[in-house]
Symmetry: C2
Subunit: 724 residues, 2 copies
Amino acid sequence: MRKVLRAAGVVVLGAVSVGGAVRAGGQATGGGAFAPVYELPWWPAAEREAYAAYEGRLNAIPDAQRLWDWHDALASRPHIAGMEGDPETIETLAAAFSGMGLEVEVHRFWAYLSRPIAAEVEVVGGGLLPLGETPLAEDPDTAKDPIGFGWNAYSGSGEATGEVVYANYGRKEDFERLAALGVDCTGKVVIARYGGNYRGFKAKFAEAAGAAALLIYSDPADDGYVKGLMYPEGGYLNDSCIQRGSIVTLASPGDPLTPGVEATRDAERLDPETVALPRIPVQPIGWGAAHTIMRRMAGEFVPQGWQGGLPLPYRVTGGDGLRVRVKVEQERRIVESANVLATLRGGEEPDRFVVIGCHHDAWGHGAADAMCGMISLLEAARAFSERAAAGERPRRSIVFAAWGAEEHGLIGSTEWVEGNRARLEAGAVAYINLDMASMGPNFGAAATPSLRRVIVSAAKAVPQARDAQQSVFEAWGKGGEPSMGELGGGSDHLPFVAHAGVAGAGFSGGGSPGVNYHTAYDTLRWYRYVVGEDYEPALMIARMTVATAARLADAPLLPLDPAAGVSSLRRHLRELTKRGVETGVFARPEVGGANAEGGGLGPVAAELAALDAAAAACEAAALRARDALEAALADGRLSGDALVQANVALFAAQRAWSDEQGLADRPWYKSLYIATDPDTGYGSWPLPGLRRALEDGDAAAVRREAGRLEGVVRGVSGVIIERE
Amino acid sequence: MRKVLRAAGVVVLGAVSVGGAVRAGGQATGGGAFAPVYELPWWPAAEREAYAAYEGRLNAIPDAQRLWDWHDALASRPHIAGMEGDPETIETLAAAFSGMGLEVEVHRFWAYLSRPIAAEVEVVGGGLLPLGETPLAEDPDTAKDPIGFGWNAYSGSGEATGEVVYANYGRKEDFERLAALGVDCTGKVVIARYGGNYRGFKAKFAEAAGAAALLIYSDPADDGYVKGLMYPEGGYLNDSCIQRGSIVTLASPGDPLTPGVEATRDAERLDPETVALPRIPVQPIGWGAAHTIMRRMAGEFVPQGWQGGLPLPYRVTGGDGLRVRVKVEQERRIVESANVLATLRGGEEPDRFVVIGCHHDAWGHGAADAMCGMISLLEAARAFSERAAAGERPRRSIVFAAWGAEEHGLIGSTEWVEGNRARLEAGAVAYINLDMASMGPNFGAAATPSLRRVIVSAAKAVPQARDAQQSVFEAWGKGGEPSMGELGGGSDHLPFVAHAGVAGAGFSGGGSPGVNYHTAYDTLRWYRYVVGEDYEPALMIARMTVATAARLADAPLLPLDPAAGVSSLRRHLRELTKRGVETGVFARPEVGGANAEGGGLGPVAAELAALDAAAAACEAAALRARDALEAALADGRLSGDALVQANVALFAAQRAWSDEQGLADRPWYKSLYIATDPDTGYGSWPLPGLRRALEDGDAAAVRREAGRLEGVVRGVSGVIIERE
């Protein structure tokens, strides 16, 4: 049964100026009282009402029924990168964008992907364990197009039999704990639960510890019955569910054979034998299978925090009475896939552009991951296209991107960024990522500091999903200012932000009672049953995307905040300093601790203090400059060449955070502001060069990295302040 | 196999005065470096060394092999109050004390006890559930003397069949949450897990909510495999374990038919029909049985925090497809049991006395609850007796008490206190409770403020269990000052502290990996397997008891701190005020909120401020007085009549906290300083009258209770300050 509740579509009738902002009289079809507030400091006062009306017209276009239909078109069959369904998905997307009148490019790439052939897990003497999800009568998609057994892309191929060691989440600290307990993983089958880090690190640490094989399972305490009712009755994992996913952990994302350059058909490639891909067999399993193993374990009780939700006391070792055999057979080969890029050319500054992206590959049907974000992207694209066809074309270009092979390692986006870095560095205003964005009504965002102000402003003009009474801003901030975190790893924003230095944001929606991440239950039925049939979350994400992108693409003055990055630098600097004092790194002789009294900063203090002082001065000046620019713009004193120069400066202030040399230990990462956490993969490391130097207790490196950040601050100061 | 590691016995060779304290050269048989520190401000300086030597001789007596033997004698058979084994235990204890040369009184009482006859729990259409622990080959005591099915003393008798409602811990807030969720308990079989409150309140709240029956089970998240390996492999509960226990919740503890007076054979008794004992059937079960019920439940997922450790999503309701039948048959009748009291008469002030108590009844064998405390008590008694026989008799008397029928509701101790209140009020210096005290090496204590200083001083002279390198004080405080909480409910200190106003303390030992509370596995094998065969914890508790009691019984100046109670009053007053502001009670119109600006204290502020000011003055003066007394004592200026008067004052300062009228809503509770938490039973409510008034938002009552506490403070000031 198809049932779509009509969403509250906001139609702007007459915009009313309120203070520096424009308040539009909102009219929700549900009769709600929500009135969008337009804060538009990036427009001359005289133009704000016209822009607000335009944004209102744009955001009247996204439609719940269309979202439902896009979802049907994109998530009704499995479409794993490089496998059956992938070409059809690429075609469907190209046709969809073409149908909107956008300039479509199918950007093909040839990447080294892995493909499952066979897998077996057996308790020796106890039989084979199930490696696939139970098909459900309630959800025909789980039966008619089975996606096969669970697998981890890039697992080593081979077979191993050994005793069992339980490694909790398989984090760095978990393996350190095992070593402290005197547990030797050499030749063992390690079993670890999902959660706490990127699964690739579980495999990396297990292999480094000498494990013969790794099993990764989803624990009911993290994703199952401890959290709620299980699918198909509820939304959480059942005992058969297996989280698939890549386990690659190379020095940079993208095609493993073409680091740093685009994986064209004829690109120069590394010899696969020289690439540090996993060697041991790694197999994901459900907790039913894990239970079968773990209930036979016979060792000591686990340390504090290691117990999960299975009905037994967890043990560190299985003892010599339990042996498990793991066999994984995979093929790795160069496979063609593609990104789909659809461009709406800007009317006045076509070479400056905003990129909105979401990947199109999945581990199965991908109704949630990532297609619920893709449908919002499509409705945003349709909104801009329809208004452009009616003569309302934004000032700058907008590129809508559907990335391929994200799940194998951000491959499509990375290859495109690597092939278009010069163009991005010259003109990309921002990147907005919508991977799996529309999972529930609770809006969230992580963003580069320079984008946070425009995202917050957009949230004041968009109605909250399923609550016509308030804006996204009000619901998100719970009455106060919303908080936005730093971008970590794990999705397609990474090459934009970390490699090309583009300001980036990731949008998300949460609050739905369920988990189906990378399982065979990531189906349309699951999404509509758990997230809802009303498509209100996807509508909200589409509108947030429209409002944010329209401001970035259409404002005369670029909505990039020049002060926010420097403010954040100062905050992160304080945190790193505190961490350094706590961990005692400043007291180490090699950091000059011999002269550091009472746990103080010691000889590197001068560098850190100088950096903070420079940043403080820069922050204050950038705020004054920003206010001066906006005041001049508001009353028409900023236009023509002066406006062009102001935008060049604002763009340059964002670019100043990138350094072509990259991080000392990870040169692909060009941003000195942010990188992924090198020990977990998903988390973020602000000021990564300085943090690395501090973690290593390397005084010379601390000085060097503080100096590089002072260079960033001087760069920001140089472009902004001198024009004040 | 009987294996006792020899304990580190401290023998004082030559005491050396160190500053104000006496440091004795300790000689541990294990060769450890521990040296006891004697802080003895309650003795003239010239007498300290002699006392330290005496205490050293006392504490060389407790012996691990004796503890083992006492344990064998007392915990080798079940001995439930009023049932088989109870008279034998009473005899054994009387003989033990007599054998030490103590004056023994078997104090008989006749109390209204309950006795199990039959019980059945059945999933309708699904068969009967098990109601007893699995006998274990590893532990013959679980098989040869089975203690029968689990039961809750004072359950209603009857049979009920109904749908199921899960009520989490069955706390007040849990039933409030059920009501908020629209769940009607009327006629339902409520199932609640142990933990969070005294089980009697689970029954009381369930009955008040209209439940037809209550099942109480032990959840694996609280006591089972989530915590560690299960008995007999480890120490935690298995799926068959059932926590027995009383569910009586009357206005005062003790015999239900003789509140406030001693339950002699001929006492005037209430008509049982008029006493608010439970009416619905209440049955404790293991989590195996609970799982059989809960896995058939079909309702909504539970609220945050209600999920336990069973392998299923917990649900609030069972639905109409699940009906459970509960049948409980019990008999309530007046039964004879007894306390055993053994007195060592003091040499100089025989009418002043210290009581050391532990109950002797149990729910089965009771190796842990309470006999591991009783064996420490016996070794303390033996120490004092042996030294008295050698001519070293303490100044004041010591009463060693083995209480009967504690498990039914603190009956033996309460009846004795009710029958001896005048004597207690005239001469009881302190009560030390040892219920289940020797459960592990980590010492802990809760105490009336006036006793905290002497307990801390004792801890500096006693070696830490299993660590000959440090004192109990050092291990307990982890390098700092140890913290001592307030006494709550749940054991025999309550009538002494709350009814007779005696300064009280409860000692405990923790840190053993297991739980067997009130189950059939509370056996000697469990204790020796989980707590240990070395009896070091019991030795430590015996020595702490000896050191504390010897100081209280033998010091020329009573070791009752006159300032601590007032200091604590001030702290609790701040907490209550903060709580009142947070809960908004001060802003309510009936507390005068109409005049209370900004969540302030409003019109009652003056009373609370006056109370705090009076307490502050009293505290400072009491500290000065204490220091002056001790300084005078030290150099021999305090003796004769002046010393007698000082002790009268110190005793009176403790007595000042009692008010014959008792609490407004609980008149049996005479202490204005402390009472049990009326909503949980186990917790403590400091300043209970004032707290009740604040919780009720009753301004007149706040004024009245603040006035009563000012009366206490005046009383303390009157006896202490005037003698300064």
